[in-house]
Structures are given as structure tokens and as C-alpha cells.
Amino acid sequence: MPSAMTRRGLIAGLSATGVLPLFSEAQTGSARIVVIGGGFGGATAARTMKALAPRLSVTLVEPRETYVACPFSNLVIGGMREIMDQGFRYNGVAATGVEVIRARADAVDPTTQIVTLEGGETLSYDRLILSPGVDIRWGAIAGYGRTAIRRMPHAWKAGAQTVLLRQQLREMEDGGTVVMSVPPAPYRCPPGPYERASLIANYLKREKPRSKLVVLDAKDGFSKKPLFLEAWSERYPDHLEWRGASDDGRVSRVDPETLTFETDFDTVQADVANVIPPQKASQIADRAGVTDATGWCPVDPVTFESTRQPNIHVIGDAAIMAPMPKSAFAANAQGKVCAIQVARLLAGQAPQPTVLANTCYSYVGAEAAVSVVGVYRLGGTAISEVSDAGGISPLAAAPAIRQAEAAQANHWFGAITSETFG
């Protein structure tokens, strides 16, 4: 621990082992908080909740022993990073006094306020924070079912799928065609497909120069598009072809046996196939009754409490936070704000409108990255983007600026994973 940290801690009146609580037991009671989902939203919310009000009972329900982070997993696919560097355990969360239960949540009864775990054990809650992430919308692309992911990995949940796609790319012979399909919005990590396309093209150019990546996209516009198009024409003119919706890019059917993609007018043959499928809020959100017809979870823009069920807050990718994107940065920030608002509600205090920023870096090459920023006002009945703020990195920037943003991206990953997982 740096000395400045110790000094600040002492000045702030903190002990070496804990935080000065904002909320006393008299204010919040000994309420029970259950958090489902230990990603960037849920782990942050659980730790923050416990830090705010140490006398609260805070339980984090997460089936995985090791969380595998999606941010930076495209670097693994591109052969620039090891999957080991993506893993985070929950020791740091548990060390803050959060009870971490390694189990899948099977059901939520919003009336009795009881969570049932896969083994039948039950947890009652006063406030539930759901941060369950996304599920694949099976069948949205004809032919893409649960068994298809072995031949056509999505790699949109990091872990074995990431490693599989990496392995398939490594085993492909030079001269092969990689095909990636991209869904319509909304989905997890809006610029993620285009970062992945950049890094796969980078790998092909470097290691298999007679090969090519074809991106079949269900839309014409996407996050940081001018920056990606610029990077692709500069860096990968022979290795990356992007087809938008108006260029017959929308994929309606795939065949895992033949590794083919069908668009409205074309059939595209792949040697390696990456289907980034349409998504929805994870199934536990359906079971809790907090999803709407879109498959995502509508929430109050100040407290993130479900508009469909009381005392259940939904954060992260599963929630409808538009225009905030479904990103790790946003989920982490929402986790902090959600915990603050829940503590205030428990203490009988009015929730507070606030402002959140989002920053997403995307790599476009081995040591080059670009960014997009948005600033959002959370209040009243909506989340609104501040129109004269935010935006993307400058176009036609000097290489030093792209390199600096890559270094900043790397720093960001270390910072946010430390804050989230300890």
C-alpha cells in the first residue's frame, strides 16, 4: 500500500481494515441484500453495499469460482494475451465481508422476496440487486442452437468459447476465410465486434497473410464506425471486408455442419465461423419477472429499481439503461450508484439523480486503441445523453495518440478489475 494511501486513510479516520460507514445500523436496519451475478456490476454493487453499511447482510450469488472477464478477451482471440490473464476470483470480494455463495440462482419470488438456489437452498432479501448479464437468444438466427457453439463459437461470454475460437483460428490453414456475424443492437459491448474484427485481421495479416475476415453485419451504423473504418483501410485493406445491412450483411440462418452463413441473397462459406448472436437479459431475470417484451429489464433511471417488480434492482448488461451502453465500465459505475441508492432507500432517504460517464476503449491493432465517451444524466423518467459532451477519439490522429490510448486501455483494465474484484 503506498504511503499516500495510508496517510489518506488515517486522515479520513479509517482503520486499516475497514471503511467508515456512511449508514449506521440505526439508519438501514439489519437489512438483507442479495446480489445475483458476480460480474462488473454485481461484484461492485456487493462490495460497495458492504462498505457503505457494514452491518447489512450482503450475499453475492455466483456459480463460477473464477470470473472470466469479457473486456480484453478479444486480445486473447487475436493471440496477444493469455486467457489466464482474464480470470478473477472472489477472495477479494469475500474479504470485505460479503458472503459469497457459489451457486446458480434458480428462481426469484418477488412476492415473498425469496431467492431459490439450484440446490434448493433459499435466501430471503429486503432488496435484491440483479446483475445477471446476458443470455444468447437461441433460435433468433435459424440453425444457431446450443450445440452449434462447438463448431461456430460465439465467444461472447468469455472463457472456453474464447479459447475455442482462438484455437480454431490457430488451426486454420493460410488462405482460409473467417466469417463473423454481428447482431442488431442492443447487445453486450457495442464496439466489441469491431475490436474483435480488427484483432482477428491483425492476426491474419501477421500469421496467415493469404487469409481474410468477412464481417456480416445486421446494421449499417455502429459504435466508433469512422475510427474503425479508418483503421481497417490503413491497416487491413487486404484482410478485412465489412458488409453492412444495406450491403446484404444481415445473417438469417447458419449451418454448423457446413459452416455457412445465409444472408437475404447470398451464402457465405467459412473456414472459421464466429456467430455473435442476438442476446437478451439472462434467464434469471425472466424468472424474477423483471424482463419486458424486448427481453431486457426496464428500470427506474435513478434507483435502477425494476419498473415491474418492487425491491428488485437491475444493473449492468441485463438492464435497459439506453442510451448508456452495455459495457463493463457502465456496469461498474451503476453498481456503485445502485448501492448508494439502495442504502438511501433503506435509510428512508430520497434517491438522488446523478450523472454517469462511460468510457470504452477498443484496440484496432497490437498497440493502438481508440475510445468513445458518453456522459449521461440519470433523473426523472429517463437517462439522457449530454449532447455536447462525449464523442470519439480524433480521426487521422498521430500514431502516438493511438499508442497512448492503448496504454490507457491497459491501465483501465487493471484499475476496474482491481476495484471490482479486489
Binding site: 479520513a12 459505475a333 439523480p353 444524466r377
Partner: protein, 121 residues
């Protein structure tokens, strides 16, 4: 290690507890409105939530040799206010900060600066 949250809430407590003790729970404020005075922010306990987007990058206690994103640890409120105001006025900066700072009112940035420097007060 819990350094970041410890810092986050160590600082939060200084403002929030003080604000609440002085004024009690304040009104929620205008829907989606801006903070236009420091007293409003302190009274309603906005500083901690306003600063929630900072520590995702500027987490305290990281290895200082990995300083692609500058550490703000130990900076006083005046320095932070001057930096944030400069970013807010800068249309063409090379980093994300000028794009972020423009989204906040001057009063909100001052609250954030006070909050982030709180451990030194």
C-alpha cells in the same frame, strides 16, 4: 485489497455525513437536472455518486509505475478543480478527459474535486 472502495467511501463519508447532519435528507432535485451550486450538492449528498465514474480508471493504490492514466491520489482540491476546468474548456484534448468533463456543470466538477481531495481536508 479493498483500497479503492476504502478510498471511495472514506471520502464519501466526509461529505455525505456532514451534508446530512447539516441539512437532513434533501429533496431529490429536478429530474435529470444539474447541480448548480456547491451547497445543493453537499446538502443532497451528490458528491459520492457524481464521482462514481472516476475510480473505474483512476483507482487509488495501483502500481504508480503503470501511469498511462495519471494518478489523482493526493492531489488537492484546487489542483483538481483547475485540471477539470481546463479539460472542460478544451475542445481538442488528446485523452478522454475533455470529452468527459464537458458533460458536467462547473459546480458538479467542483463537487467532484472536493470529493476526490476529501482525504486531505
Amino acid at each position: 485489497m479493498t483500497t479503492s472502495l476504502r478510498t471511495f467511501f472514506g471520502l464519501a463519508s466526509l461529505f455525505w455525513v456532514t451534508g446530512l447532519a447539516a441539512c437532513g435528507p434533501g429533496p431529490a432535485g429536478e429530474a435529470g437536472g444539474s447541480i448548480t451550486s456547491a451547497s445543493q450538492g453537499h446538502a443532497t449528498g451528490m458528491a459520492a455518486a457524481l464521482s462514481a465514474s472516476c475510480s473505474g480508471c483512476h483507482m487509488a493504490g495501483l502500481d504508480r509505475s503503470a501511469d498511462a492514466i495519471p494518478s489523482i491520489e493526493g492531489l488537492d482540491a484546487g489542483t483538481l478543480k483547475a485540471s477539470l476546468a481546463a479539460y472542460r474548456a478544451d475542445d481538442v484534448g488528446d485523452t478522454v478527459m475533455h470529452r468527459i468533463a464537458r458533460g458536467y456543470t462547473e459546480a458538479e466538477l467542483d463537487l467532484i474535486a472536493d470529493y476526490l481531495a476529501g482525504g486531505e481536508r
